[in-house]
């Protein structure tokens, strides 16, 4: 089947195939998003953030771990664009490589959390009854702690480090997704097309996987995008409190933690990573806000 991605084909009122209908819907969402300047700024920064993190070793001017003790806490200059830190390491290169750490943590958390939340929510919402009550009770317990405090306690119990931080953030991040997926599932559970599915003899697993879960995805995507900034901030806060990525690692929060001792004399040392955290999380918030308007008009 040859497909021509023309504007007319995408915006056709009467799509001739499933693919055309699906692409048409995506294109309309994109048009809606494009009309929102804040969301486009957010998208641009997010894309830039990902590209910079991927190309960190190409763009860095120095080795992020290379020390130069003769040149400690140097002001920004042509050689060191953002100055050097307390061990003479180049701050600009460290921020670039720190982007990798942050991006890796965010992706790992989402990969762990989204399927789990979706599964728990869909199962609880579709089957209802005792299953629902047990699963939602567990969800409530995890919702009963502020995220950072539970994550702190978990990391302390495990061992400070990136892996523990990812695990701890994941443990505290899944309940809202489960709640959301459950609410979405409950609204479609009793609809006619699900009843029709059941009549044709589809197994519950098939109905949940192929018919219920896909409908929960758009609102989950919005929620995840908005949550990215919260994950970035939690990861940075854990690093700042010494419970996340550990010092030689150029994680932004950990960089600020070591730099806060000389903030009054060498203010440029913590400023760079601080702005990096702010930009990254602000971009995800802008993008998520725009996505919500497009994908989830009822929550506007």
């Amino acid at each position: 089947m040859s497909v021509a991605f023309t504007r007319d084909w995408l915006l056709a009122e009467t799509p001739a195939s499933r693919a055309q209908a699906a692409w048409g819907r995506r294109y309309r969402a994109w048009l809606g998003l494009r009309a929102n300047p804040l969301a486009m700024i957010g998208l641009a920064v997010v894309v830039a953030f990902v590209l910079l993190a991927l190309a960190a070793s190409l763009l860095a001017t120095h080795d992020p771990g290379a020390q130069d003790l003769a040149n400690r806490l140097a002001r920004p200059s042509a050689a060191h664009w953002l100055g050097t830190d307390e061990l003479g390491r180049d701050i600009y290169s460290r921020i670039l490589h720190g982007g990798r750490v942050t991006l890796g943590m965010v992706i790992a958390v989402v990969v762990l959390v989204a399927p789990l939340g979706l599964a728990v929510g869909c199962v609880a919402g579709y089957f209802g009854g005792l299953v629902d009550r047990v699963l939602m009770r567990v969800t409530d317990v995890f919702l009963a702690f502020p995220r950072l405090i539970l994550a702190l306690a978990f990391v302390a119990a495990l061992k400070p480090g990136v892996e523990s931080a990812i695990l701890a953030i994941a443990l505290t991040a899944w309940p809202p997704y489960a709640r959301l997926a459950r609410a979405e599932t409950m609204t479609v559970r009793n609809s006619d097309f699900i009843a029709a599915c059941r009549l044709t003899g589809a197994a519950p697993a098939r109905i949940v996987l192929r018919h219920v879960a896909p409908l929960c995805v758009p609102s989950l995507v919005v929620r995840i995008t908005l949550d990215m900034s919260s994950i970035i901030i939690t990861a940075a806060s854990l690093g700042f409190l010494g419970m996340g990525a550990q010092p030689p690692s150029p994680e932004w929060g950990a960089m600020i933690a070591t730099a806060k001792r000389f903030i009054f004399e060498q203010w440029w040392v913590p400023t760079g990573p601080g702005i990096a955290i702010m930009l990254a999380s602000l971009a995800f918030n802008f993008l998520g806000d725009g996505l919500r308007d497009v994908l989830d008009p009822k929550q506007r």
Partner: protein
């Protein structure tokens, strides 16, 4: 009536289950540490007999279920164990540190509400205009910046460069222990003692952390106020009020806002609970002797009893505030009765 009693009973049952869950989670956190608490207590080189005896004394040789029941028993008696670091009972430590956090969070939620709610209403009334967009950006920026970045920046600008704000800490060294301890809230204690210099000093020290926490939590309040107001402004009673010829202000504040106010109670309660979390990070930057400071110092030293105690307390406050919001909501809004 019977229906209300029934819903009350099921509500209580769900709270009991949540509390049990809190106990299980904190118990597990306290037990899964990588360091054997017995070895931590007696040292690596202790003879086997001493290790065995200490293990028995600490109750760690018993089955995990028995240990959990013992933990529940102690919790029910308000016993959270002792801190290795301060040598005090965790409960008395918490009683000393918690008021400082409470003072910070309460002031912050007040400021956030006083600023955030009108901003949300304004954004809703001017939906889609430059004002709406500006408010959105300002709030999102506050919500996207980690509090420690804001706190360090504020200290740098207002304390180090401009010199118009006091430095870290809760009060000047001059006023240390000068005001008799009554509630633990320095502002209230200073008022009771009638010591206005101490009051001014305490307030001055609060300005930075409170404004930062308020800015951070304002985004949520403003966003929810705006959403609720948009909802209310589309109601038919608002159209009626407009048709009667009421002024715009009267329609917004006398007709639409009261309906929103009730729903905001829940938002404010959740914000308040969330502030406890922001307080942990803020306190470490401002050297604020509160629960967050206590928690992080204990974490650094792998002192697990205070960690478990503080986590449990925060969880309890969280559950309590949620419950309170729920009850208030039912009480204030006749539609959900």
């Amino acid at each position: 009536m019977r229906k209300r009693l029934g819903s009350l009973a099921s509500g209580l049952a769900s709270i009991a289950l949540t509390l049990l869950g809190l106990a299980i989670v904190t118990f597990l956190i306290g037990r899964v540490m990588p360091i054997d608490p017995v070895l931590a207590a007696v040292g690596d080189n202790a003879p086997q007999a001493v290790i065995e005896r200490t293990r028995a004394e600490m109750g760690l040789d018993r089955p995990i279920a028995v240990q959990f029941l013992t933990y529940l028993w102690q919790l029910a008696h308000g016993d959270l164990g002792r801190s290795i670091l301060t040598k005090n009972a965790v409960t008395s430590d918490i009683a000393r540190y918690f008021p400082a956090t409470l003072e910070l969070a309460t002031a912050a939620v007040l400021v956030a509400a006083v600023v955030g709610v009108p901003l949300g209403v304004w954004a809703a009334v001017r939906q889609g205009t430059v004002i709406d967009q500006t408010i959105r950006v300002v709030c999102l920026a506050g919500h996207s910046t980690p509090v420690f970045v804001l706190a360090l920046g504020s200290l740098l600008i207002f304390y180090a460069i401009l010199g118009i704000a006091p430095g870290p800490g809760r009060q000047d060294i001059v006023f240390q222990d000068m005001v008799p301890h009554v509630t633990g809230l320095l502002t209230v204690d200073a008022l009771i003692a009638g010591d206005y210099d101490a009051l001014r000093d305490a307030l001055a020290h609060m300005v930075q952390p409170v404004l930062i926490l308020a800015y951070f939590s304002m985004a949520y309040i403003t966003r929810m106020t705006r959403a609720f107001m948009l909802d209310a402004l589309n109601g038919e009673y608002v159209v009626t009020a407009r048709a009667k010829g009421l002024s715009g202000t009267a329609v917004v504040w006398r007709h639409a806002f009261p309906n929103v106010g009730v729903r905001l109670v829940t938002v404010l309660a959740l914000t308040y609970a969330g502030l406890l979390e922001g307080a942990v990070v803020t306190e470490t930057v401002f050297a604020w002797p509160g629960l967050g400071q206590y928690l992080t110092v204990s974490l650094m030293n792998a002192d697990m009893n205070p960690v478990v105690g503080a986590t449990l307390l925060v969880g309890l406050v969280y559950v309590g505030l949620n419950l309170l919001a729920d009850l208030l909501y039912r009480q204030l809004d006749p539609r959900v009765r």
